[in-house]
C-alpha cells in the first residue's frame, strides 16, 4: 500500500521507479514531495523540469506538469517556462553531470540572472545512467569506468559555484539528512529568485562499487559521518573539518527576480505607448 | 522606362547604408519601386563599404547592381574596389580627394563633399546627406521633395535643421561640380 504522500504526489501507476536498490535518489525525491506538500503551492501551477540521467527520471514519477528534456538543458527549458509564464513555480531536477558538465553554462547563467527556478541537484559523483563514468564532482583520484587509474580532474563544489555565479539561495543536504533536505527545499521554494539545493546521493552500484565504499548503508553512514552543519562548522578547528563537507543553508540573500524585472520593462514600455 | 542602378561607396562609418535607405524611401515616396542592399566586411568602421539602390518603375527582380548608372565614391579605396561595373555612359560622383584614372565615357563630377561637411558645416557626420543631395541634384533619380521628406524621417531627432542644411549644401556644391 502506498503511503498517503505517495498516493497523493506520485504517479503510482509508473512505480516502481527504475533506480537501483540502495540508490539515494528515491529518498531525495520523496523529500521534494514532502517540501512541496508543506509549501501549500497549487500543484497545477508547479512544473518539474529535468535533463537526462538517473536523477532526471524523477519527474516522470511525480504528479505535476513534468518535462523531461535533453541532456544538460533542463535549466534552459525551465527558463523559457518561467519567463513565458511567471505564475508557474518551476522546479528543476538535475544531476551532477547534467547540471555541471554538459549543462554547466546554463547553470552559471541561470544563477546570474536570478531567474525564479528551484534547482535540486542530485549529486552521486558519477554518471550512473551510462554505467559509471567519472563526473565533474567525482573526487580527485577516485575511479570511474573512464578513469580506471583514478580521476585526475579537480571536483566542482556545486554550491560554491552557484553562490559565486549569483544564485540567491543555496544549501546542501544529503540523502541521510532528510529533514534538513526538506527544510532547505521548502526555503528554496519560498525564494523568488534562483535557488540551488545540492542533495548528496549515494550510488552503490557504480560509484560505491568502483571505489570500495561498501553497501548502501555504509554510504549513508559516510554521509552522516562526514557532513558538518554550517552552524557548528565555525566552532570547529580547521583540522577537524579536513575531509568533511558542509551542509545546511549556505547562502540566503534575496534579490529581484528576473521574470519580475522583465515585467517592469513591459509595464514601462506599455505605459509609454 | 525609368530605372536607376545606384551604388554608394565609401568607408564604413560614413553613413552610406543610411544614405541608401533614404534614397530608396524617397523613391517609394515618388511612387516607384526600390530595393536596397549592402555589403560589408567584418569592420564596423573603416574598410570599404557599399550600399546599393535600384529604383525602377517596373518590378525589381535581381536586387544587386549589375550595370551601374550612378556610382558615388567618397574614398579612393572604395572607388578602386567598386568601380568595376559602372556603365560606359554612367555617372561617377567622387569626392575631390579621389583620383580617377579612366578612359570611359562616363560623366565624372568631382565634388568636395568631405570638406563641405567638416569645413562649412563643421559636422563630418553629415557627409552622407551632402552626398545624396549632390547625387540627386545631378541625376534627378528622385524628386527633391521626396528626398527632403525621407531625410527628415530618418535622421535623429534634433538634427533636422542641420540635415536640411546639409542637403541644400549638397545641391549647391553639385552645381559647382568640376566635370
Amino acid at each position: 500500500m502506498p503511503s498517503p504522500l505517495i498516493e497523493s504526489y506520485f504517479r503510482s501507476e509508473n512505480l516502481p521507479q527504475i533506480w537501483c536498490p540502495g540508490c539515494g535518489h528515491g529518498i531525495i525525491t520523496r523529500a521534494i514531495a514532502v517540501a512541496i506538500e508543506k509549501s501549500g503551492l497549487d500543484r497545477d501551477k508547479i512544473c518539474i523540469v529535468s535533463g537526462i540521467g538517473c536523477s532526471s527520471r524523477a519527474p516522470g514519477y511525480l504528479d505535476f506538469n513534468t518535462l523531461h528534456t535533453t541532456h544538460g538543458r533542463a535549466l534552459a527549458f525551465a527558463t523559457g517556462i518561467k519567463l513565458a509564464n511567471p505564475e508557474l513555480k518551476v522546479i528543476v531536477i538535475t544531476g551532477d553531470g547534467d547540471c555541471t558538465a554538459i549543462g554547466g553554462n546554463h547553470l552559471i547563467h541561470a544563477c546570474r540572472r536570478n531567474i525564479g527556478l528551484t534547482t535540486i541537484v542530485y549529486n552521486n559523483n558519477i554518471y550512473g545512467m551510462t554505467g559509471g563514468q567519472y563526473s565533474p564532482t567525482t573526487p580527485k583520484f577516485d575511479k570511474g569506468t573512464t578513469a580506471p587509474y583514478g580521476n585526475i580532474d579537480k571536483a566542482f563544489d556545486i554550491c560554491n559555484l552557484a553562490a559565486s555565479a549569483g544564485a540567491t539561495y543555496v544549501g546542501r543536504a544529503t540523502s541521510y539528512h532528510t529533514n534538513l533536505l526538506i527544510s532547505l527545499v521548502l526555503n528554496a521554494l519560498k525564494n523568488d529568485g534562483f535557488s540551488l539545493i545540492e542533495a548528496i546521493s549515494g550510488c552503490p552500484t557504480y560509484y560505491g562499487r568502483k571505489n570500495k565504499k561498501g553497501s548502501a548503508v555504509n554510504m549513508l553512514e559516510w554521509q552522516k559521518d562526514n557532513a558538518v552543519n554550517i552552524s557548528s562548522a565555525s566552532k570547529m578547528a580547521p583540522e577537524m573539518l579536513e575531509g568533511k563537507f558542509l551542509i545546511g543553508e549556505l547562502k540566503n540573500s534575496p534579490e529581484p527576480e528576473y521574470a519580475s524585472e522583465y515585467q517592469k520593462i513591459i509595464d514601462k514600455v506599455m505605459k509609454e505607448r | 522606362m525609368r530605372k536607376y542602378e545606384i551604388r554608394l561607396s565609401g568607408s564604413g562609418g560614413q553613413g552610406l547604408l543610411l544614405a541608401g535607405i533614404i534614397l530608396a524611401e524617397a523613391a517609394i515616396e515618388d511612387g516607384l519601386n526600390a530595393v536596397q542592399t549592402q555589403s560589408y566586411g567584418p569592420e564596423a568602421r573603416g574598410g570599404a563599404s557599399k550600399s546599393e539602390v535600384i529604383i525602377s518603375e517596373d518590378i525589381i527582380d535581381f536586387p544587386k547592381v549589375r550595370n551601374c548608372d550612378i556610382l558615388l565614391s567618397l574614398t579612393q579605396k572604395s572607388y578602386e574596389q567598386y568601380n568595376d561595373n559602372l556603365k560606359d555612359d554612367g555617372i561617377l560622383i567622387i569626392d575631390s580627394s579621389v583620383n580617377v584614372n579612366t578612359s570611359s565615357n562616363s560623366k565624372i563630377f568631382s565634388i568636395p563633399m568631405l570638406d563641405a561637411a567638416s569645413k562649412i558645416l563643421g559636422k563630418p557626420m553629415v557627409t552622407n546627406i551632402i552626398a545624396i543631395g549632390a547625387l540627386v541634384a545631378l541625376t534627378e533619380a528622385v524628386s527633391k521633395e521626396a528626398l527632403t521628406r525621407a531625410v527628415l524621417k530618418r535622421v535623429p531627432k534634433g538634427t533636422e535643421e542641420l540635415n536640411k542644411k546639409a542637403l541644400e549644401l549638397g545641391y549647391e556644391i553639385a552645381g559647382k561640380a568640376i566635370i
Binding site: 516522470g60 518535462l67 513565458a84 508557474l88 553554462n105 520593462i265 506599455m270 | 535607405i21 536596397q36 536586387p63
Partner: protein, 377 residues
C-alpha cells in the same frame, strides 16, 4: 505625396510577421546575418506584452523556446548556419515531443564560420536532416521582403496546426535586403492556434492523436498535469520500452505531415505553359532566375520558373508532372548541389537535369543562368 508603402528589411518583415502571428516569446543568441531579428524582437515584444531573452548560447535559445511554447505562448528563435547546427538536438526534441515553434535560419556561407556576411543556401539538407533520427519537419523559403512577412505568419500557423517545429529558411539576400512592402490589415490575416483539450483532466491523453493525427495540446499550468519526454512515449506521454509503441509513434509523426501535404506544400510557377527549359530556384536566387527568364524570353527562348516555397516536404508531385512537359530542368542554388538531389530523385531518366551552383559568397547573377540555359538548349 504619401502612400501606405514602406521600405522594410527582410529580417524586419520576419519580426513584423511573427508579431502579427501572435508571437509572445523569443529566445536566441546573436549571430550574423540574423541578428536584426533578435534586436527587433527585444524592442517590439515587450510592447505587446511578450518576452525576449538573450540566452547564453544557441542551444539554450532553442530550449527556452520549447519551454515557453509548453506554457501556450507562440515562440520563435532565429539563427544562422553554425547556430542552426547547435540547435539541432532540441529541434529534434520539438519534432518528437510535438512542441510548436518557429526556427528562422538566415543562411550564410559555410561550413564552419565560413562567410558570415555573405549569402548561401547551403543548409537545404541541414534543414531536412539536421537532427538525428527519422523525424518530420517543415521548411519554407521566402524570396522577397513581403513574402518573408507572409511566410513567417504561415510558419507559425503550420507549426500550431500540426504541432511541429517549422523552419523559416531565409538567406542573407532576403534577410538583409530592403524593399517596398505594404503590410496587410491585421484583420485580414488568418491566424491559427493549436487545438487545446477541454475534457476533464483525468481523461486527457496528451499524445492521443485526433483524426488529423495531431494530439490536443494543453498549456502547462492549465490544470492538465501531464508528462513530456524525448524518450519514446505512448499516448499517456510516459516513456515506453515497447517496440510497437516506438514504431507507432514515429510512423504517426511522419504520417501527420504526409497526409496534410496538400495543405503544407506551396510553390510558384511562372511562364510554365510553353516552357522547354524549367529553372528551379528558391529564396533569394529565385529573383536572379526571374531576371534571367525575362532576358531569355526577350530573345525567344522558352524558359519557365518553378519556385518551391515549401522545400520540405518537397513539392514532388507537381515537379513530376512538369517533368513530362519540359525538356531540361536547371536547378539554380547557392551551394554545390543540394536541392538538385531531390530533383534528380524525382525526375531522373525523364528529363535532362543540370545545375547552376555558386559557393563564393556572392549571389548568382542572372547572366550566369542565361549562359547555362544557352549551353544546354
Amino acid at each position: 505625396m504619401t502612400n501606405s508603402f514602406k521600405l522594410m528589411q527582410g529580417n524586419e518583415a520576419c519580426v513584423e510577421g511573427a508579431i502579427a502571428a501572435g508571437m509572445k516569446f523569443y529566445a536566441g543568441y546573436p549571430i550574423t546575418p540574423s541578428t536584426e531579428i533578435a534586436e527587433l524582437c527585444s524592442e517590439k515584444l515587450p510592447v505587446v506584452g511578450g518576452k525576449f531573452i538573450q540566452m547564453e548560447d544557441e542551444i539554450a535559445g532553442m530550449a527556452a523556446v520549447i519551454g515557453a511554447s509548453l506554457t501556450g505562448q507562440k515562440s520563435m528563435t532565429a539563427t544562422s548556419g553554425p547556430g542552426f547546427s547547435l540547435k539541432q538536438e532540441n529541434i529534434g526534441y520539438a519534432s518528437y515531443a510535438e512542441i510548436p515553434c518557429v526556427i528562422v535560419n538566415v543562411q550564410r556561407g559555410g561550413p564552419s564560420t565560413g562567410q558570415p556576411t555573405s549569402p548561401s543556401q547551403g543548409d537545404v539538407m541541414q534543414a531536412r536532416w539536421g537532427t538525428h533520427g527519422d523525424h518530420p519537419i517543415i521548411a519554407i523559403c521566402p524570396s522577397s521582403v513581403k513574402e518573408t512577412f507572409d511566410l513567417t505568419i504561415r510558419a507559425f500557423n503550420l507549426s500550431e496546426k500540426y504541432r511541429i517545429p517549422v523552419i523559416l529558411l531565409m538567406d542573407e539576400v532576403v534577410g538583409h535586403m530592403r524593399e517596398k512592402i505594404e503590410l496587410p490589415d491585421i484583420a485580414d490575416i488568418e491566424i491559427i492556434d493549436r487545438k487545446r483539450p477541454n475534457c476533464d483532466s483525468d481523461e486527457y491523453l496528451p499524445y492521443k492523436a485526433e483524426a488529423d493525427l495531431v494530439p490536443l495540446m494543453a498549456d502547462f499550468g492549465a490544470g492538465y498535469r501531464y508528462h513530456v519526454t524525448g524518450l519514446a512515449h505512448d499516448e499517456t506521454g510516459f516513456p515506453s520500452n515497447s517496440y510497437e509503441v516506438a514504431d507507432k509513434l514515429i510512423r504517426r509523426l511522419m504520417n501527420k505531415i504526409e497526409i496534410h501535404k496538400d495543405d503544407i506544400i506551396t510553390w510558384e510557377e511562372e511562364n510554365i505553359d510553353d516552357a522547354d527549359v524549367l529553372i528551379i530556384a528558391f529564396g533569394g536566387v529565385a529573383r536572379s532566375a526571374k531576371a534571367a527568364i525575362k532576358q531569355l524570353r526577350e530573345n525567344g527562348i522558352k524558359v519557365g520558373l518553378f519556385r518551391p516555397i515549401t522545400i520540405w516536404p518537397f513539392p514532388q508531385e507537381r515537379l513530376r508532372e512538369l517533368a513530362d512537359k519540359v525538356k531540361v530542368m536547371i536547378v539554380v542554388e547557392m551551394n554545390l548541389g543540394q536541392l538538385i538531389l531531390e530533383v534528380q530523385r524525382i525526375c531522373n531518366n525523364i528529363v535532362k537535369i543540370d545545375g547552376v551552383n555558386k559557393v563564393n559568397g556572392e549571389i548568382i547573377y542572372p547572366e550566369e543562368i542565361v549562359t547555362k540555359v544557352l549551353e544546354v538548349i
